[in-house]
């Protein structure tokens, strides 16, 4: 609820929220001009964890950039792997075997659930509820164990390769994934919805807070759950299908309210949809190799390439410019939260500090991905 107040612009003070602050989940700094507890002006200041990944891409070969992708969005690292693999495969014309595509989808969707679980946990932590964090981590741990079995690492995966994946999945992984889905479906209604979603304190806290209109989403280029919470039915997996997503039957949850609760509900429903995709993929999993034929040294044709994938936070675009060399000539990463955060200033104006932080939590920020 944005309380209608007449903000006084003459008696304001500046509050530096961050770069070290519990609610910014990393090193984001927001310069707030405040009138009492009301925000007159909010101005995010970025760059505290900027590492110039785009220059690193230009300096190395195509394959050498793969580990970097996971270091940007460390929560949905496999989607960043996927985005980079897709744009290079597009540019170099590499075919991917079907089994590898299925494995990519399964692992990326598992990772998406893990990312949403962590968002949920961190969001509740922003709202002062500590216990849900540990319930969500309990479930997330299971996903990480599963992914560790196939990828070898727990957080910053470097699993996808141009033309396939690094390692095949085994029966134990398949069984473990099915067990996990059963477990999460069993826990979801009680530990997630009864304890938190239906809780009156939470509802009062995030319902009607932080309205984002569909028009604002368009003007600021917001995508992902933020756009879908504002009534925009847009999911790259559906609208611009890549990989083997067209073969699965899943819905894109859309809520029209545009408040923090809508974004919350979008993510909660997305977890269920991801589970549906994983189940179908496990049922249909074809045999065959997991690595296709890919040249050792990639030299894509000169030209402009763009490719987008849907990460847990929205549309991730890779703008690749090649000049026929074995390094990318130019790589621009269009990271979803960079655009999502840019509307924070406009929406947070006139909000109370605590509400603005609840709104910020509902945007699901991952700072290394904004700063790249």
């Amino acid at each position: 609820m944005t309380v209608p107040v007449h903000l006084r612009h003459d008696e304001t003070f500046v509050l530096n929220l961050g770069p070290q602050h519990p609610a910014t989940h990393g090193v984001l700094r927001v310069k707030l001009t405040m009138d009492g507890e009301y925000i007159v002006k909010a101005e995010p200041v970025l760059g505290y964890i900027h590492r110039m990944h785009e220059k690193m891409a230009e300096n190395g070969t195509f394959a050498q950039f793969m580990p970097n992708t996971a270091r940007m969005d460390y929560l949905h690292a496999l989607a960043f792997n996927h985005g980079w693999a897709l744009v290079v495969e597009k540019a170099a014309g590499i075919e991917v075997p079907e089994r590898a595509e299925y494995i990519r989808v399964i692992t990326v969707e598992l990772n998406r659930i893990a990312s949403h679980l962590l968002w949920w946990a961190a969001f509740l932590l922003d709202l002062g509820g500590f216990t849900p964090l540990l319930y969500a981590f309990d479930d997330r741990e299971k996903i990480i164990d599963l992914l560790e079995r196939v990828t070898g690492s727990r957080l910053t995966y470097c699993y996808l390769r141009f033309g396939g994946v690094y390692n095949d999945i085994d029966d134990e992984f398949v069984a473990g994934t099915r067990d996990f889905i059963k477990r999460l479906r069993g826990r979801m209604p009680r530990l997630y919805h009864d304890l938190v979603t239906h809780n009156i304190i939470l509802i009062k806290r995030i319902k009607d807070i932080g309205f984002v209109t569909a028009e604002q989403c368009r003007r600021y280029g917001a995508t992902g759950p933020v756009a879908r919470g504002s009534g925009i039915d847009y999911d790259i997996r559906k609208n611009e299908p890549y990989s083997v997503y067209p073969e699965f039957d899943f819905d894109v949850p859309v809520f029209t309210e545009g408040d923090s609760m809508a974004r919350y509900m979008v993510r909660m429903h997305e977890m269920e949809q991801s589970m549906r995709i994983i189940e179908q993929a496990l049922d249909k999993l074809p045999g065959g190799p997991v690595m296709g034929k890919a040249p050792k040294v990639l030299k894509p044709e000169a030209g402009y390439y763009y490719s987008a994938v849907e990460t847990a936070r929205g549309s991730l675009g890779h703008r690749l410019v090649c000049n026929g060399d074995k390094n990318p000539y130019k790589l621009k990463l269009r990271s979803p939260t960079f655009s999502n955060l840019s509307l924070f200033g406009e929406v947070a104006e006139g909000m109370l500090l605590a509400d603005a932080l609840a709104f910020m939590g509902s945007l699901d920020l991952v700072i290394p991905e904004i700063d790249r």
């Binding site: 970025l46 760059g47 368009r218 030209g303 402009y304 763009y306 269009r334 655009s339």
Partner: protein, 168 residues
Amino acid sequence: MGLVEQTQAALAELFPEPALPAAPAGEGDQEAPPRQAGVVVTDAARHGSHLDVLCRPDQVVAVARVLDQDGYFLEAISGVDWLDKGQFEVIYDYNRLGDEHCRVTVRALVDRNEPAVPTISGVFPAADWHERETFDFYGIRFQDHPNLIRILLPEDADFHPLRKDYMP
């Protein structure tokens, strides 16, 4: 008429003459004939965009207005440094939210010595940060930008790291 053709037609009105200000640098390496039209349809499956628009820097805002009216949104702005041609290229990626899908790439070439492009942050607020980032990395000035300061690099940085001649 599909969305792609519709947008193509709307954009083509901005380019009455087929003559171009400069040779497209990125395609210069291929021995293709120089491009004649401002707006061309590209293979979306391979290049990831349906329309490719090559315009003069002063047309960037007009193109943005047309796309804004058609309900597009700005995905990203990126710069490219064509060092051997003495040019910077600014690439605007547009996309459309909704069922019908069309991606538009708008490119503009500017002189490397005095790089300046009018800002489109008046049309798309999203461009604000993306333009600041491009300024940060390449030193391209976006004229009339409300707040053209460093965004990702420290405010006292005196270099533009993505220029190809930048040596740390």
